[in-house]
């Protein structure tokens, strides 16, 4: 498994992000845990104060990112991994078209990711090394009835990450897109998902896959299923209840 010495995890106060922080710290990596909720971060940092540094930040405060990114790398004494795990997925009704709910999904899932990962890309392109991990979703593979904007946000993130990957591969930088299926987290709690993967297990698999540039599903079943789902012709897909 790839060894990291200094990492930033954005979206670290819960779910996959928090578990990634814990597992990196347990492996001896110094981790900057970035999230909005300072109290949650303080609890997390208290688990391993030598290795986990808390930085309270709202990912929609885009202008603050360049300065904070530099400050964090300075505090960490270097940087070799950036994980963007922030995500918003409010409950959206089947007939609901509420811009107030849609907007934060684009802001958090897309614009926040671009603000942070652009900084990572500049740094890693220049230092010719490093790993960028974006937590996408299988939901980005098709536009579906249930979550139009969430689907669109994750598709946008996946395409952005693919472009970064193509830009940065020649500089020795890994860009990894993770497409988890259902994971037990606060974000998905309202969905009452059956068979959802525990966040700790998802984090373990994500870190294991972070050593290989490219797009990864966390389960073989998802890989097969979405290989097929992506190829279902639109006239048929719109009649299906998936």
């Amino acid at each position: 498994m790839t060894e990291y010495r200094a990492a930033i995890v954005v979206g670290a106060s819960s779910g996959i992000g928090r578990e990634i922080v814990r597992q990196l710290a347990a492996r001896g990596c110094r981790v900057a845990a970035v999230a909005r909720r300072a109290d949650r971060l303080a609890e997390l940092a208290a688990e391993d104060p030598d290795r986990i540094l808390a930085f309270s930040h709202d990912v929609t405060d885009y202008d603050a990112v360049p300065g904070l990114f530099q400050e964090i790398a300075h505090r960490l004494g270097g940087l070799d991994l950036v994980v963007y795990a922030s995500g918003a997925m409010p409950e959206v009704g089947a007939h609901e078209y509420d811009f107030a709910k849609d907007r934060p999904m684009i802001e958090v899932n897309v614009l926040g990711a671009i603000a942070w990962l652009n900084q990572a890309a500049i740094r890693f392109e220049n230092t010719k090394r490093g790993t960028i991990v974006g937590i996408g979703s299988v939901a980005g593979d098709r536009g579906r009835c249930g979550q139009p904007v969430y689907n669109a946000s994750k598709a946008c993130l996946a395409t952005y990450l693919e472009a970064l990957r193509n830009r940065l591969a020649r500089h020795g930088v890994r860009v990894v897109t993770i497409k988890p299926g259902p994971v037990q987290s606060e974000m998905t709690a309202h969905l009452h998902l059956k068979g959802a993967m525990p966040a700790a297990e998802a984090a373990r698999r994500i870190l294991a896959k972070s050593g290989k540039t490219g797009e990864h599903y966390l389960k073989l079943g998802h890989r097969v299923a979405f290989y097929i789902i992506k190829r279902i012709p639109s006239p048929i897909f719109r009649r299906l209840k998936v």
Binding site: P66, Q70, A73, H74, G77, G78, L79, R123, N126, T127
Partner: protein, 468 residues
Amino acid sequence: MTVLDPARIARVSGFGFTASADGYVYRPTSVDEVRRVFELARETGRHVVLRGAGRSYGDANIGAEALVLDCQRMRRVLSWDPASGVLDVEAGATIQDLWKIGLEDGYWPPVVSGTMAPTLGGALGMNIHGKNAYRVGTLGDQVLDLDVLTPAGDLLTLTPDDDDFYAVVSGAGLLGAIVRVRIKLKEVHSGDVRVLPVACRNWDEQFRTFEEYEPDADYMVSWVDCFGRGKQAGRGSFHAAWYLADDASAAATLRLDHQELPDTILGFFPKSVVWRVLRKLNNRTGMHFLNWAKYKAGTVLGDGKPLHQSLVAFSFLLDFVPNWQKAYEPYGFIQYQSFVPREQAPRVFAAQVRLQQEARLESYLGVLKRHRPDRFLFRHAVDGYSLALDFKVTRGNRERLWNLCHRMNDLVLEAGGRFYFAKDSTLRPQDASAFLGEEALARFREVKARYDPDALLTSGLAQRLDLV
């Protein structure tokens, strides 16, 4: 909050690429721009690392998340007097710049390293020596005066009459940025030197040969085969060289085109690919063979027969094969050079090589030189000899190699020897304080407090050795 230009960040490595760190690289072209970098460091709470051409092998020219002040663009010639040989240049000028300016007027840099790449500022920070160290001392001994910009903001002119001169030169770039140097070049009457190769069968012959030629040779250096064992331990090939007092072809040999290193070997094999061949041989078996072959060739070809060589070809052996350091990829190499008093040197160096052989970590290249003491603060030289060693770092040998170096360090320290920061990767804080001595360290701290009260200047080496 001051945000640095993110595109300035780069992975910066020492020459042996065993140590590297990400830093924000600034390449100023004026003293004011250097000053601005110090201010920027203060504004952003960062350290500054001084870097010349990046030829220090270890971690003396890198610093994690620091502002890396690369002075290579400050290389203007401020004045050159062909009558006296006095050259006034910005400190980013390289040794190559020096000889290219002086040679056609009959002047050669009085002290050169094995490569012409180092900048004067970097070379003085480390106070480099050459193959004539026993005769003329270090580069610092040749300087008439210099300007140093302190992080406190003062631009000071220092001469050898100032005590601080002896701290800034040799101070490993931890006291201030040397920005200008006035130096007197050595008058020469030919672009060639007379070189005498002498094959040495063992350590005894090595040291005897040095003593024999010391009284009159202008340069002395010897290559040591670290694979030689038993009665052949210390075998190698000694070279002495003399300036030519009288050269009928001086007009031709002093021209730059006479000094150009050829870009092929034997007229057809391109040197640009030699490192790729070396890389295939760059393992214990290959290097054992190459060292043996070189020794055998030295005993048969040209032993005791003087020849003429251009100053460049004789002086800059490390520039003979371009990019040779790439033969050590991907894990790099360390250079280890220790300086031991004359009486102790035969015993200590023989023991060092024995330790290497016991550990099966023989140096692939050993170079023996003669030195004289000097008064610089972080001096490396003693009245004795130095043995410089190249060790390949592999995926699995790092810990064993560092252990070996620590055991070799102990031998050096017991013998009252010293070390050289430009080539160090393995010293521990206790080793550094043992050879520098408390008095020198106290003096360093005193100058540091005056020149750099905010402790802006640091480096990987300074942090490793607790110097700052």
